[in-house]
Assembly symmetry: C2
Homo-oligomer: 330 residues x 2
Amino acid sequence: MASRPDGKPTPENFRLDNAPIAEPGDGEIALQILYLSLDPYMRGRMSAGKSYAKPVDIGGVMEGGTVGRVLQSRHPDFAEGDIVLSHSGWQSFAIAEGSTLRKLDPTATLISTALGVLGMPGFTAYAGLLTIGQPKTGETVVVAAASGAVGSVVGQIAKIRGARAVGIAGGADKCAFVRDELGFDTVVDHRAPDFPAQLKAACPQGIDVYFENVGGHVWDAVFPILNDFARVPVCGLIAQYNDASPPPGPDRLPGVMRDVLSRSLLIRGFIQREFVDQRPAFYDQMAAWIASGLIRYREDVMDGLEAAPEAFIGLLEGRNFGKLLVRVAN
Amino acid sequence: MASRPDGKPTPENFRLDNAPIAEPGDGEIALQILYLSLDPYMRGRMSAGKSYAKPVDIGGVMEGGTVGRVLQSRHPDFAEGDIVLSHSGWQSFAIAEGSTLRKLDPTATLISTALGVLGMPGFTAYAGLLTIGQPKTGETVVVAAASGAVGSVVGQIAKIRGARAVGIAGGADKCAFVRDELGFDTVVDHRAPDFPAQLKAACPQGIDVYFENVGGHVWDAVFPILNDFARVPVCGLIAQYNDASPPPGPDRLPGVMRDVLSRSLLIRGFIQREFVDQRPAFYDQMAAWIASGLIRYREDVMDGLEAAPEAFIGLLEGRNFGKLLVRVAN
């Protein structure tokens, strides 16, 4: 990261640097990175403000989940050639503590899925929807960014649990994918001029669970049609990550609090690591759902580490289509 | 209710009417009202807007919890002279369905407590704090209107559960009562010019549970010092009940949602009747706590039904001191 963005990140906030490859110390592993995951949370790491995690330093390596191949191991659990999940960030080679790695089985699944449907985004959807959202049979679950890494899994798990899944996506192609490939009950294009009316029509019984990962004008359309006792897991707010200052008035907070009270709403922010105890169950369950065809996924793969800044900027604007990855090496 | 208030209720919104006393039909009871409860939720019933309950009609009897004496019974479970809890509203005599009444034992407790610590306000505190707030040993619980019917019980239950109870009240007398009589760990006067700084100093470990029944400038002081994973049961928003339109900007909603996410906050509105299954346990538990001196309470009793409008207007301004009641008859 070359500099902190002021509002939207630009290519100038990033810099491609060359540096010598270090040697692994005792208990460490030298990795060649194969895949880098790009995720909305990274925008938060670029700002200096207080958040749930430390910001990236100016001049530091951008943070990020990665899948890599072991080049050299000084940890007894790993051998050269192993494929591992690590958190090595935006770089081609890395040194990692062996204790922080998870070994992947490349014969069982595509290794890239450890960064998507079988990784942090899939687990975010699973834990947030089931633990906080708690959809019941026949209820209506709405999720925005429904073609994305998290939203696509939210809607499909909602279906598995017998709920009605309503997706929100941007553009005809993504909407068709959400409805026809992912099997949501219906989908609404948030770019339509009459989006709020379309959403209301798509939810004739109101909304029981709104999985929030967008904010902005999607929230504005969702909030009035939340049912009494609706649950809102707050997982992300991508529409406002670039906002430098609060929007102009009126102040809508008192009105929202009034409705939280009168409709007995639940609003709950979460970061997936809170639910770490559920990860083993998630890995088993999700692998079974994928194997049986109940959960489908789509990856959007860019080639070469140098593609990461533009791809990430596009992610914040919704230009990706599916789980966004950078193939750093073959 | 003579007319709907525009902002703060005024005496002109109420009218004292005389009408013939009806005869009870089959299954009904004729009651003389002894005590009328005055509660903040009644402000909501005076407005025509959509809320969780039907508004009072113009010209209709103001709603409210009451304790009365049975004058005539046409229901097998009740006899003349029984003391019962009913929801008969602001009137001296009433007809009620026998099936909606709860018989009180005047030898066991003061009958007025069925409208306070052993009634709806006490149960609101109990269910909201324990089910949503879930205070743990050593955590910090903050409650505003801490000398009031709900807040006083919230803080005392928090203490019983091993939490640290911090009260917020208006004026030196109420603060002294909260600290010295109710036994909160500490109390802060929200009228102090440096109230936010005082609250922060009173919560050196931050706030884990904020039982919200006020909103407004109290919320503004509380929100920045909520800890990660803090729980906010939203029980009332008395500071904004009279607001006719949203306050001017900036719009603080996006900032609050950002913090809900980054601090994994829980915000949950509730109405006590959602937890109706817990009422039997509450009656037993609260009676035992009162008997053992663990829960104390204070009543603020006005005499005569004609005192109700001014007393209610004062309640919305915090002029009452303890659970506000009207003694309608001796």
